[in-house]
Amino acid sequence: MTAPLRFHVPEPASRPGGAPDFSNVVIPEAGSVTRPPVDVDPKEIRDHAFSIIRVLDRDGKAVGPWTPPLDKEALITGLRNMMTLRAFDARMQMAQRQGKTSFYMQHTGEEAVSCAFRVALAPGDMNFPTYRQAGLLVAGGYPLVDMMCQIYSNERDPLKGRQLPVLYSSKANGFFTISGNLATQFIQAVGWAMASAIKGDTRIAAAWVGDGATAESDFHAALVFASTYKAPVVLNVVNNQWAISTFQGIARGGSGTFAARGLGFGIPALRVDGNDYLAVYSVAQWAIERARRNLGPTLVEYVTYRAGAHSTSDDPSAYRPKAESEGWPLGDPLVRLKDHVIAIGAWSVERHVQAETEIMAEVVAAQKEAERFGTLHAGGTPSARDIFEDVYADPPPHLRRQRQQIGV
């Protein structure tokens, strides 16, 4: 007799009420993964898709071949960028709770990924981000006030009140308009990079997607096109373990890692400790150099953890153990970089406390400035006329008629 078939639904290691269990996250020693030349044959680094590149060890020392050539000033800047993003998140989360906007999404635990990546890019390069890469803007020097005006959809909102909070856009800052539909922009980044190559330009693109949205067809389309045309693009997968309530195993399926998705396409794939600012920067630089030198795409998986809720509409205690975020074995990216700069004598606990105060004051000042131009339900709001602008380059007759109907 043949045994009946059994249907398989993957489950995370632990659920609410259980103890956090990260025994399946195998973490190699810092400094233990080799750093190949950027023109390496992808076949020779297949193992990199299953390991984790790490630089910062438990004592806050930078070790191994991936240690990047960042001076003290650059490290302090990186730390300050992450602190700014965390302070910004705290204030905007609170602003949402106070009813000043409809929605917010924090980065807690993932600050290193976008902050470090941005620093490795050159002017003119283009990111196609998701909603959890605002560090690209913060590290890119985009004004906090403009970000807040977008979140408040106020009269100074650069996007004129049209977009959900945090779905920023800034061409000048290399930040493509974010779509609320997941993964759509992964393939667009590849197209942008193809265009750059067609024109004989030197600019490269960076695509971003979360672990959950790698399951979208757009992700696979992007890998096919990037592989076929050797597009100058860095394909970033931020694996923060959770897609709202769905653990990463539902999107990953039988694949060992998300990085391994690149292997079948002949795309070199690296897996990196996403909570290690130095490792993220170093891997980003490697992948960006490959793209810039016409060597084609690289797939990078950032192993990190979404320490907060998915959004202000989410409560993670309903689907994962409360203590899970404290149990995350790769720690807090901000604390780890702080410990490092203290260990090398570039920083101190006192200076850190002082910096925290300064940064919070800057963020609060920016918030006050932004609120002068209104919040979602109070003060200045964009005009109803703005609904009808930019649907087309020039409003066609039917939109002009509709605009007249609401009397604007």
Partner: protein, 333 residues
């Protein structure tokens, strides 16, 4: 009409280095309908190339290219194959300009052969124009002859907005009037069958009157323009036949002027009836012309079924059905 479409791309690529053309089989081979034949040889593989069989990828990549600053003109091999790209078209191409407050724009043309009459069955015969006209931010174009096809396609490539360019495939080789049992008439005998050399445009948003008449206005586009002309000829009904050419933006002024003159209106398309673009036309006509109407507006369209294979001519709204509708509306007093 194939030569006219090819010439539009050729002229555009020659004038503007930012125009690139790609899609399934369009490179070396020149497309399954030969619309891109010779373009790769003339402009090189970086400006005209084959794409993987991935419509989502073709449109998604083209959106990225357009955002970069190119003017991609991509081919979806059959309109029936566009559904995997629909999210990219609706949620991305159509909205980049609006959601980014014009920080990013999407000057993109998506060409696709549309409609039936070639024994293509349900997956090579559909007319999905209403799925595009319903989406804010898109322009939708359907030419009915070679002269217009070239001028409209050049205008679409030069347009700053994303344009869906639907090519009635049954018109590729001649002005098909629905009489499938008669010999094929070539375009060479048609007054609009020749597309002049060089650059010219037919503006988006302007309808053309193909036959002037005083009895009834027929609002139509694409293949059905020729079917309507044949039906008018055969019934002797003095129909005024409007070829919309562009569905969005729509030339409502031309429509209203004609219906106010004739007092009767037939809306005609090959696409399925329910929620088709004809429903929008009927609504607009009654809003603009209600007090001029002498009879209820009549719709003639494809049946609300999948497009059949063997029963193609029972499905296709040919001159007999259109002619019957013309006679009937003329009898309404």
């Amino acid at each position: 009409m194939i030569e006219a479409i090819r010439s539009a791309m050729d002229v555009s690529m020659g004038r503007d280095e930012d125009v690139v053309v790609f899609g399934e089989d369009v490179g070396f081979f020149g497309g399954v309908f030969r619309c891109t034949q010779g373009l790769q040889q003339k402009y090189g593989a970086s400006r005209c190339f084959d794409a993987p069989i991935n419509e989502l990828g073709i449109v998604g990549a083209a959106i990225g290219m357009a955002a970069y600053g190119l003017r991609p003109c991509v081919e979806i091999q059959f309109a029936d194959y566009m559904y995997p790209a629909y999210d990219q078209i609706v949620s991305e191409a159509a909205r980049l300009r609006h959601r980014s407050a014009a920080d990013f724009t999407c000057p993109l043309v998506i060409r696709m052969p549309t409609g039936g009459g070639i024994f293509g069955g349900e997956t090579h015969s559909q007319s999905p124009e209403a799925l595009f006209t319903h989406v804010a931010g898109l322009k939708t174009v359907v030419p009915s002859n070679p002269y217009d096809a070239k001028g409209l396609l050049i205008a679409s490539i030069e347009c700053e907005d994303p344009v869906i360019f639907l090519e009635p495939k049954r018109l590729y080789n001649g002005p098909f009037d629905g009489h499938h049992d008669r010999p094929v008439t070539p375009w060479s005998k048609h007054e609009l069958g020749e597309a002049p050399d060089g650059h010219y445009t037919v503006p988006l948003g302007e309808a053309a009157i193909r036959r002037e008449g005083s009895g009834v206005t027929v609002i139509t586009y694409g293949t059905m323009v020729h079917v309507a002309l044949a039906a008018a000829e055969e019934t002797g009904v003095d129909a005024e036949i409007i070829d919309l050419r562009t569905l969005v933006p729509l030339d409502l002024d031309a429509i209203a002027a004609s219906v106010k003159k004739t007092g009767r209106c037939i809306v005609l398309h090959e696409a399925t009836l329910t929620s088709g673009f004809g429903a929008e036309l009927v609504a607009l006509v009654q809003e603009a012309c209600f007090f001029h109407l002498e009879a209820p507006i009549v719709r003639v369209a494809g049946w609300d079924t999948p497009y059949p294979h063997a029963q193609e001519w029972a499905y296709f709204p040919g001159p007999a059905r259109v002619g019957a509708a013309m006679r009937e509306i003329m009898e309404t007093r």
